[in-house]
Symmetry: C2
Subunit: 491 residues, 2 copies
């Protein structure tokens, strides 16, 4: 592997050289959505970020098994694992079986991800499909003494765990502070300590999503699924675990605790967290009520939006910031992204028409090298983009005969754009351009039919025949009727 990648590891708070456990294999796990509503910008960022990681690692030769889960059970309303399951709540509101809600929003999530050109992961396990693995994990944790059951529920014993290990190593939280800040909530009296978290919850009678277990008919705690499914598909120890920064505590912290308690091994070598998208400086999130869904962005149908933004504009907007920086939403920023992307793709499209000169006035090899260097340096997409814009400048200059590039340097430039614009950043011309094509073909045909009519009126049959022949080559047939000339696509 000639590319040496460095990764900012949340565990060490430093950039580390990436050394996979079993090269060229890489195990990558990323927390996916809880499917009870449409995806918003806050979902798009981790999806695009780890799509970038997935694409780059594959491009430089790794064979990546990318697991991104679907949370379809057990994600409760608040961090203390009490209250009502979000999906069950949505199902009750809509009078649906919870799995209908799950299926509906999973499908829409996939459509949104496809629109953003986010590659499908290798495996997309559902939490509800891995109850057995979760029960086995709980049994292991109990056997090792780090969990206790009360009234049919099972809780993780954080204090006991922290005596032997370190609860807080990822997030930097200190247990004493947690103790003072934990709110008193329903069901808390079953716990030995308020910061203990549920591994299994006994289902209330009205709860639909429930499974038998050694402790009760119930359902798993939210943190458990990721520990169980990552171990199932990537092993007890794997390379990279990603997710949004908001999941670092308590979710990822608890994942580490569960895995260490069950297997006595550190589950993850590199923890990667993308920073948040803010809207006017505030976190965007479903529970905060200030979110704009991706579908609203794509259609412009939201009071905060001045216009519709195409999926590729959203993707480019996200990639213009490094994944560890915050990214603030505004119409101005998205409009700037739209213009920038347009300039980038237009220049890209010009490359095949560039005419080679005898010398090169610019060092295009340097751009290629800088793109690799930036991606290898903790996936620094904004620096890649800055380098590509240096390429845009050169392309436009060569196209306008203001500077010159040799044929081999044009090839280098083409390969740079193919690799980084298309393969690694995953940018492409938007489908949106085609949506109006029907309309355009119709308009152009109207014009052509009128020009032909004028030609015939002037007895310019050379022109009118030429029109008919050129259209015929395009598979378009003209039909002259008493009411005028119609056209149709020849089958």
């Amino acid at each position: 592997m000639k590319n040496v990648v460095s990764v900012y590891n949340t565990l060490s708070r430093t950039k580390e050289i990436f050394k996979p456990l079993n090269p060229p294999l890489v195990g990558l796990y990323v927390c996916g959505p809880t499917v009870y509503g449409d995806a918003h910008l806050g979902h798009a960022r981790p999806a695009v970020t780890f799509d970038l990681v997935f694409r780059h690692l594959q491009h430089i030769g790794y064979k990546v098994r990318y697991v991104r889960n679907i949370t379809d059970v057990g994600h409760l309303e608040n961090d203390a694992d009490e209250g009502e399951d979000k999906i069950a709540k949505k199902a009750k509101l809509d009078q649906l079986e919870p799995m209908e809600v799950v299926h509906y929003f999973t499908r829409r999530y996939h459509q949104d991800m496809d629109a953003l050109n986010v590659l499908s992961p290798s495996i997309e396990p559902h939490a509800s499909g891995h109850i057995i693995e979760q029960i086995q994990l709980i049994e292991q944790i109990i056997e090792n003494g780090f969990a206790y059951s009360v009234n049919g529920s099972v809780y993780f014993d954080v204090l006991k765990y922290n005596n032997e290990h370190h609860y807080g190593k990822l997030s930097g939280r200190v247990l004493e502070d947690l103790l003072n800040n934990t709110r008193s909530l329903d069901g808390q009296d079953e716990k030995r300590n308020p910061f203990d978290f549920a591994l299994w919850k006994k289902a209330q009678p009205e709860h639909i999503m429930r499974w038998p277990s050694p402790w009760s008919e119930g359902f798993p705690g939210w943190h458990l699924e990721c520990s169980a499914m990552s171990a199932r598909y990537l092993g007890n120890q794997f390379d990279i675990h990603g997710g949004g920064m908001d999941l670092m505590f308590p979710h990822h912290e608890s994942e580490i605790a569960q895995s260490v308690a069950a297997h006595n091994t550190e589950p993850v070598n590199y923890w990667m967290h993308n920073n948040m998208i803010t809207i006017n400086g505030q976190k965007m999130g479903k529970s905060l009520g200030n979110f704009i869904t991706l579908r609203q962005l794509f259609t412009g149908d939201h009071a905060a939006l001045e216009q519709a933004y195409s999926p590729m504009t959203i993707r480019f907007f996200i990639l213009q910031a490094h994944y560890r920086s915050t990214l603030d939403f505004s119409n101005e920023a998205l409009q700037a992204a739209e213009k920038g992307l347009d300039r980038l793709l237009k220049a890209y499209a010009l490359i095949p028409s560039l005419k080679a000169g005898e010398k090169s006035d610019s060092d295009v090899k340097r751009i290629l090298d800088s793109c690799y260097q930036a991606m290898n340096d903790d996936f620094n997409s904004p620096i890649v983009i800055a380098n590509l814009f240096e390429g845009v400048r050169i392309i436009n200059s060569v196209s306008n005969n203001l500077e010159s590039l040799t044929a081999s340097d044009i090839d280098v430039l083409k390969s740079t754009f193919d690799t980084f614009v298309h393969d690694v950043l995953g940018l492409k011309a938007d489908q949106a351009n085609n949506i109006n094509d029907d309309h355009k073909v119709g308009g152009l045909m109207e014009l052509i039919i009128e020009l032909r009519k004028n030609a015939r009126e002037k007895k310019d049959f050379a022109t009118s025949d030429k029109i008919r022949n050129m259209l015929s080559n395009l598979g378009i047939v003209l039909k002259d009727t008493r009411e005028g000339t119609n056209w149709e696509i020849d089958k």
Copy 2:
């Protein structure tokens, strides 16, 4: 419900009036694909058939919960439930984790179904995600005395079941015949009778897909998942179970036996089976090696294909036959379907431009009534299509001023086409028409630029200005450069 639907019930071999258990709710379960390869015509037929059922029942006011499963474990190579799991085998060949194979082909199946305009079901449960429900079902069957465990595997006791119930009631098979025709296969010696089938199989050491159970680490038998998942999402008794005729025995027969053995209730009120697609009179199927995948049909990339066929042509081809008739594949038949669909959709597109007259020469209300009648009569799509073609004839006559329709009759015709072409048959203009639009716009622009050049050379500035202005209205800008005229879409 003013529409009375009759359904051919395989159980009674007659058409019966459809009476759902809890109107307006309808429970519909259909056997979905085993995801270890791309879908072929043999998968398209049940998908389109039950999509038609789903669409029509919803159109006439039922609230349908449509469950279609994904078989991702336990579908063995042969009917006797021995040998190797198809997915595990494919995974081994490709050196992948079985769930990677499952994810890859499930995604492709969804893309193919979207292309065919097959609506997504309400719930799409995976067999591997319902192991607990399957184990519970086995326990119930054992408790009721209809299954026995041997060496960690569990088998259904067909002979014992048949003493109290009727194994063969769906397929009409007779147990004695089965006895004489069952091949002797590996593992058969564990069974009391060769026609007994596995509910649970102990996993061989090399088997990856395995779960703990009261009997062994193993995996469920193929027939079990549908009994378990239909009961989970539709109840122990539900309205309609559909699938291909090839699944009637042993799969559906065994489903009935399992459900009756566990719950002592008939699980399904109406069994519906679509007939097979043949190719030169032979069944098409993966195990027969003569199949053409949908992707090959869409691209034309198969030795047996004279051309590519669009997804809508395939859909129309399937709907042109009643679902209980065989349907023989041939290039001629598909080409005829392509032409017929084109004629249908062209006439549909003409409706808005029809000019109303003072009287009606045709009885269009009769067409609407006949369409409802045909759909209510066991979903008779070919008769619906025949009626729509009577509509096509009328539309074309009115369009050519050969006959006349009143405004309100034009509305009836429009509503008939909207309902039956669009909503119920699920036909729409193919995306394929748009695929070439980029190319067409480019070709038309070339022609227009040349016409403008000629006009300018002849000092016909009126024409050249008109061209520029009309293009500008379409959002197309011309740029004259030293090398000639370019054009671009104005942003």
